[in-house]
Every structure is written in structure tokens, then in C-alpha cells.
Homo-oligomer: 321 residues x 2
């Protein structure tokens, strides 16, 4: 009746932005991500017959449970159960701020919810389940390097899958945190505005799969420079599609940190930036360069702090305390 | 044998970005600008039979004269003259920093060069002449609100023309200067990279003429809000086409000033941002709001100073001193 799971955010190297047509909350383009160790969401789901509705607490604060209920309802249907649940989740990193807390959050929720309702641990089933509420969270079920196909307009299962394990590539992600505040515009809202109003959305849909193929090929070849160049191009193309619709996730420090990454690269260190739907800059570097790059990014005005994350594991059940 | 002209920068409300195919340095899309009073380039051209090559001085420093010579050669051909010239130009605002110093510079040069070589003052002829070296400079020959058509692939004359005089619209442009340094990448270089590598360049070529039509319609209707919305959309679409090719003219302060413009607008004051191929933010406001908006922008960290400019006159000959 109670289960707890943990999951880690993932950073898309080939970005997903925009939904496929149809009812299934599937991405319009394929994506490829790395799951990060070190940033952790822990979520417990406890069934409680006394509750009239699901109750959600994030980092000790009551929050709107609408999206959580949409996921739980699917699990309850599969388990033949109707009992409502108390969901308690904690992040050890900023929430709703472009650090993929919704990815780790829905991944952990999917695992915990299935276990609390008596269903077996099955990352692929949980990935499809999480994807139906938060598409990018489907990738956090798996560790290392993970891909998620584009939807085909049907309601078929669409889970993510591992492309390569965490140790496949000598990679660190240096996260330059530029604010601790939640972002002004959610990914869903920004995506909807982009797909409705960007003059470049059609071109993004056409171009993104090519960038995904470049990222995938470079990853399999363990070529950090080719991977980083394609990842930076993917991030810039995604943001450009949004900017052309008036959706700007960048802050000043975002642009200044991006410029610093490019200066680091110009000085001979392999360093490539990626930016999600938020203001932080994530820099892809070799492990041996991570500390030096972190120090340079920490010195950029507006960068509040810097985290260094390695490729990490997928979601898992943890013992209840 | 010596003539001096002055001209003012212009700020495109509907942006030009990218060249038409063909030899004539014509823009790929139509544009519409406002010429600004208050920022002035003064250029003198003096023929000197002792010179083996044209000599260019900008703000007291010797500079490469290649592009200046390309313009002068056309005038010399028309005038049946071969004598080289000493060109002295001064700007009372930052040079090559995204404040359209090349626009005012080549406009003033075209007027001064024609006069020094004995050709009559003719803004339309001078506009076509200037355009062949620096397309956006064609618009600075005229005052007020000025448009320049896209090229058609031929070498025909393509001068700008006035759409409405300076007093047509109650407008001020608040320029938030974010650096006094020259920009890292010239407009020409950024344009070439965009047209060669941006996945969105084709969509830009298709979309920009629609934004130009919106700007033109709003201008003729004296509708500052519609004009501003279309101008901001044009600027963001232009930058987005470049960003997707890895060309980033924004600095941190650019993005922070843009966000401040949007906050000003959200609080009820008509204020719309436009950004050229450089880091400064130009805000379109009513004259009565200019000082308040200037004060808010001056308070943005990274904004060094703020200029307020009204629509101004075209290029003209000035008496030699």
C-alpha cells in the first residue's frame, strides 16, 4: 500500500520540443538524453482509503495534484483499484526551474505508483506510463544514454529505451545554475505557443530528427566533439524555434554562460552547451576537464552555483523508511 | 574636389537578413526602417592626386578602405574620374557595435562621394549606390520611415524610398547600449552563416515579407501597438534564424533588457523591443513614455547608458568647414 522510488533528471542531447498530433502525449520528434547521477527525486505513494482525492506534497508544500492524478488513474485502472493516494516527493535540486525536475518526478512517481498498487517493477511499462503525463520523464526510467521515438499519431505504447550504458562515454555535465526560482513559463506552455505561432516550427520538425541522428551516431562512436556540436545545435535550434514565437527561456546569465562555453571551446577544451526550457546552461565536457570548466562557469556573473553530474542510473524502488 | 555629408543610422522595424541571389548585394526580403535623429555620422571625401589608394579614417583611426573603395569606384566610373580620395568619417555614437554605424556611414559616404566627384545631390541615386556596398545603408538616405524592396536577382537599381515622414508617428526609440565594444561578428558574416547553415533560413525568407506587410500596415494606420508587436516579432524571428545557425548577437544584458521591455509592456505601457545584429536593445515607445522607459532600462544591470532618439532626417550635404 506504500512504495517509494527514486529517479534522476535527464538532459536531452537531442531535444524534444512539440507534441505529435493525437491523444497520447507523444513527442513530435525523436530525442536522446543522458540521465544524471547526483540530482535525485525521491517519491513515495501511499494509498489511503480516507482520502477523497490524491494529495501531493513537493518538498514539504502542498501542490496541485492534477497531473499526478492523471498518471495514478492509469495505474489504478490497470490494477483494478480506486483508492486515492498521498504522494510525497522531494528534490535535492531546484524544482520546475529547467533542471528536469518533472522528468525525474514523473519517472519516480510511475515506479512508486505501480509498486504501491501491486504491479511488478517494469521500467518499460513505467516509461510509457510516465510519458503519457510528461514525455521527457519517459527517459528518466533508464540510466545512461536513452532515446525516445517520436509518436506516430496513434495511442500505442511509446516507452523510452537505453541506447548505451552510463559508462559508455567519458562525459560530465557541468550545470550552471542561474536562478533558484521556478521558470515563468512551463515547457508545455512554451511548446504549445511554439507549435501554434512559431514561423520555424515546421522547419524544426523537419530538422530535429537529423540532429537526433547526428547525436546518436556520435554517441555510438564515442566522439564527444561530434556529440557536443550536434547537441549544441539541437539546443539552439529548439530555443530558436521558441524565440521566433516570442518564447524566451534565456536569461542574461544564460547567454553569458553560453558565450563562456564557446570561449572555453575556442581555447581548446572540448565543451559544448545545451539548454533546456529554462535558464540554466549545461555543459558537456570530458571528466578530466569538468573541474576547470566548472570554475570558469562559476565565475560568470549571474551564475549562482555550478553542479557537476556524471551519467547515472535509471529509476528504482527504494526501501521504505 | 571635397565634399562633406551627414547621415543618421536607421533601425529596421521589419528586418532585412540575408542577401538575394545575384551580384547586386540586394536584400532577400523587404525591410522597413525608421531613421534616427540625434546619432550622426559626418563624412568628408577629398580627392587627392598624390594618393596611390583611397585612405580611410574613422574617428581618427586609419581603417581598411576596401568597402569604401568599392563604393567610390562606382562613383568614379560614373564621373569618368580615377583620382583616389581621403575619406574622413566621425560617428558620435559607438562604431560597428550594432548601432547601424555602417548604415549612416555608407549613406553619408555616398552623398559626399557623389558631390566630391561633381555629381548632383540625388538621394535615390545615392541610395542605390550605398545599397550596393551596405544594403541597410540605402535606407539612411531618407528621413522618417523608409522601405527597401527585396532584390529580384537582377542588377537593376534598387534604392530605398520614404513611406512616411518623421512626424507621421508619435514614436521614440530608446536605445539601451550594452557595450561600447565592436561586435564580434559583422552583419555580413552572420548573414552568410545564417543563409548557409540555419535550418530556419528558408522559413525566414517566407515569413519576413509577412512581417514587413504587418509593420507597413500598422505604420500607415499610425497604430504603435500593432507596429511594435510586428517589429518585435520581426527582430526575434531574425535573431532566431541566426541562433539556429549558432550565430548569437545577444549578450546577457540584451536578454535582460528585452525581459524588462516585456515587463514594462505587461504593466500597461506600450513598449516593444527590436534588436539588430548586435547586443543593444532598441525600444519603441510613445514620446510621452520615453523618459520613464529610459529610466527603467538604464536600471537593468549591464545596460551602460540609454539614448532616446526621435525619427529624423535623411542624409544631406553639409558646408565644409
Amino acid at each position: 500500500m506504500k512504495a517509494t522510488a527514486q529517479a534522476h533528471p535527464n538532459i536531452a542531447l537531442a531535444k524534444y520540443w512539440g507534441k505529435a498530433p493525437g491523444p497520447a502525449n507523444a513527442p513530435a520528434v525523436p530525442s536522446l538524453s543522458v540521465t544524471l547521477a547526483g540530482l535525485t527525486t525521491v517519491t513515495s505513494v501511499e494509498l489511503d482509503r480516507s482520502l477523497p482525492a490524491d494529495r501531493l506534497t513537493i518538498n514539504g508544500r502542498d501542490e496541485d495534484a492534477t497531473r499526478v492524478t492523471s498518471l495514478l488513474d492509469r495505474v489504478r485502472r490497470e490494477a483494478g483499484e480506486t483508492t486515492r493516494a498521498r504522494i510525497v516527493t522531494t528534490n535535492d535540486f531546484p524544482t520546475s526551474a529547467g533542471l528536469a525536475s518533472s522528468a525525474s518526478g514523473f519517472a519516480a512517481l510511475a515506479v512508486a505508483a505501480r509498486a504501491a498498487l501491486g504491479l511488478p517493477f517494469d521500467p518499460t511499462r513505467a516509461s510509457d506510463l510516465a510519458r503519457r503525463t510528461s514525455a521527457s520523464s519517459a527517459r528518466s526510467l533508464f540510466g545512461g544514454f536513452v532515446e525516445l521515438d517520436a509518436g506516430d499519431g496513434t495511442d500505442r505504447d511509446l516507452p523510452a529505451r537505453e541506447v548505451a550504458p552510463a559508462e559508455h562515454l567519458d562525459l560530465r555535465v557541468v550545470v550552471a545554475v542561474t536562478t533558484e526560482a521556478p521558470k515563468d513559463e512551463s515547457s508545455t506552455s512554451g511548446m504549445n505557443t511554439t507549435s501554434a505561432h512559431s514561423p520555424y516550427y515546421a522547419a524544426w520538425l523537419e530538422h530535429a530528427p537529423r540532429l537526433y541522428e547526428e547525436v546518436r551516431r556520435a554517441l555510438l562512436a564515442r566522439d564527444l566533439d561530434a556529440l557536443g556540436a550536434a547537441a549544441e545545435a539541437s539546443a539552439l535550434a529548439m530555443h530558436a524555434s521558441a524565440i521566433a514565437a516570442g518564447v524566451v527561456y534565456f536569461r542574461g546569465a544564460t547567454v553569458d554562460a553560453l558565450a563562456e562555453v564557446r570561449r572555453i571551446r575556442a581555447s581548446g577544451t572540448s565543451a559544448y552547451a545545451t539548454i533546456d526550457a529554462g535558464p540554466h546552461v549545461k555543459t558537456l565536457v570530458r571528466a578530466a576537464d569538468a573541474q576547470a570548466v566548472a570554475a570558469r562557469l562559476a565565475a560568470v556573473p549571474g551564475v549562482l552555483r555550478v553542479l557537476v553530474a556524471a551519467p547515472g542510473p535509471g529509476a528504482s524502488l527504494v526501501a521504505d523508511r
